[in-house]
């Protein structure tokens, strides 16, 4: 549900950039959505598609979304792993459990304009 307000945030940042650089058209917007951000990627994309139609600069632009793999950090020894599950025992120290590590942000990576 809050995907729409996040998409609105994205559009206003992109529009500010376009105005700052005196660009007439935004071609491509690249975003990274962290695996723990709690964002439903399809709803976010839908929000972008609807809202980008409202402005001449963003109309028809392509939204490119990168979704990095989840990573986990041992609560005890601090080592970071990929391809594991939350709450798994640490493969290294065998003592701690793995907790989500980073990746809860949505980051505007780049904007292509002309």
């Amino acid at each position: 549900m809050h995907e729409l307000s996040l998409a609105q945030n994205l559009i206003s940042q992109v529009l500010n950039l376009a105005r700052e650089h005196q660009a007439k058209k935004v071609l491509r917007v690249s975003v990274e959505i962290g695996p723990f951000s709690g964002v439903v990627v399809d709803s976010f994309r839908f929000g972008y598609e609807v809202l980008s139609q409202e402005h001449g600069e963003t109309r028809g632009s392509v939204l490119e979304i990168r979704e990095p793999e989840q990573s986990f950090r041992c609560f005890s020894c601090g080592h970071v792993f990929n391809g594991k599950k939350m709450g798994d025992p640490c493969p290294d120290c065998k003592e701690g459990t793995l907790v989500a590590w980073g990746g809860d942000d949505i980051i505007l990576l780049s904007v292509e304009m002309e």
Binding site: M1, F36, V99, L108, E112
Partner: protein, 243 residues
């Protein structure tokens, strides 16, 4: 700006455009406002707590009982977030506590900007001595409020017994980003298939550092522990602010 004639870069000075690297978090503006709010709340001398849960988990009732337990001891202020109505604020106001109702008019969460307005309005109800605890009751929703920092020092997530003990596993982010986990309505355990152990185990799996309390606003079960925790935390917080 052009160094020789001071023109603003139009015409032949036009900036080159193409791919602009940004690398900025989408919620950067909200987080900056949240940081500002936190400093503002610290100037009032208060420790702030953001309460998150689904609708009907007992956030307002928890507040009422917490206010009663600390009456005459700590100065409490409340910011209420709802989509519509003043009903929650009315319940708190009935206890003689400074309170502001924020109505989001449809939005499923509070954000740092609306909370800032709330703090400024609450301030007009305070005397010069300031506040000890500021509770911010978020819009009832276990998903959206989680992404928006408000300027709180502490985030508490509530789960009531009728909701079921599988909620931490189903709504992980609320439990991952909170520091306190409150199971509420524990007096209803005999009537529901709810396992405290499962709920706490799942929540701890997501966030091993969670503080946990099992509360009933009806019987008062464990309110001493909860209120004692708030007292201690406020003491620690005041010591840190002093340094």
């Amino acid at each position: 700006m052009c160094e020789s004639c001071g023109c603003q870069g139009q015409g032949s000075f036009k900036k080159e455009i193409g791919v602009i690297e940004v690398n900025q978090r989408l919620l950067a503006a909200n987080d900056a406002q949240a940081e500002f709010n936190r400093h503002y709340i610290e100037k009032l001398g208060a420790l702030s707590i953001n309460l998150i849960s689904s609708p009907g988990s007992g956030k307002t009732t928890l507040l009422e009982k917490t206010i009663d337990a600390l009456a005459g001891e700590l100065r409490i202020g409340v910011i209420e977030g709802d989509i519509e109505t003043e009903r929650d604020a009315d319940r708190i106001r009935a206890r003689g506590i400074p309170v502001v109702q924020l109505t989001t008019g449809g939005a499923c969460h509070l954000d740092a900007h609306i909370v800032h307005k709330g703090i400024r309005t609450l301030e007009t109800q305070l005397d010069r001595t300031g506040l000890d605890l500021l509770f911010i009751e978020n819009v009832g929703n276990l998903v959206c409020p989680v992404s928006f920092k408000l300027g709180e020092h502490l985030r508490a997530v509530l789960l009531s017994v009728p909701e079921g003990s599988d909620k931490p596993a189903k709504y992980p982010k609320a439990f991952m980003t909170s520091q306190v986990f409150l199971i509420t309505k524990t007096d209803l355990v005999p009537y529901f298939d709810f396992s405290m152990e499962e709920a706490e185990r799942e929540a701890t799996r997501l966030n091993p550092g969670l503080e946990k309390f099992r509360l009933s606003s009806v019987t008062g079960e464990n309110f001493d522990a909860w209120v004692g925790y708030l007292r201690n935390l406020l003491k620690k917080y005041r010591n840190i602010l002093k340094d």
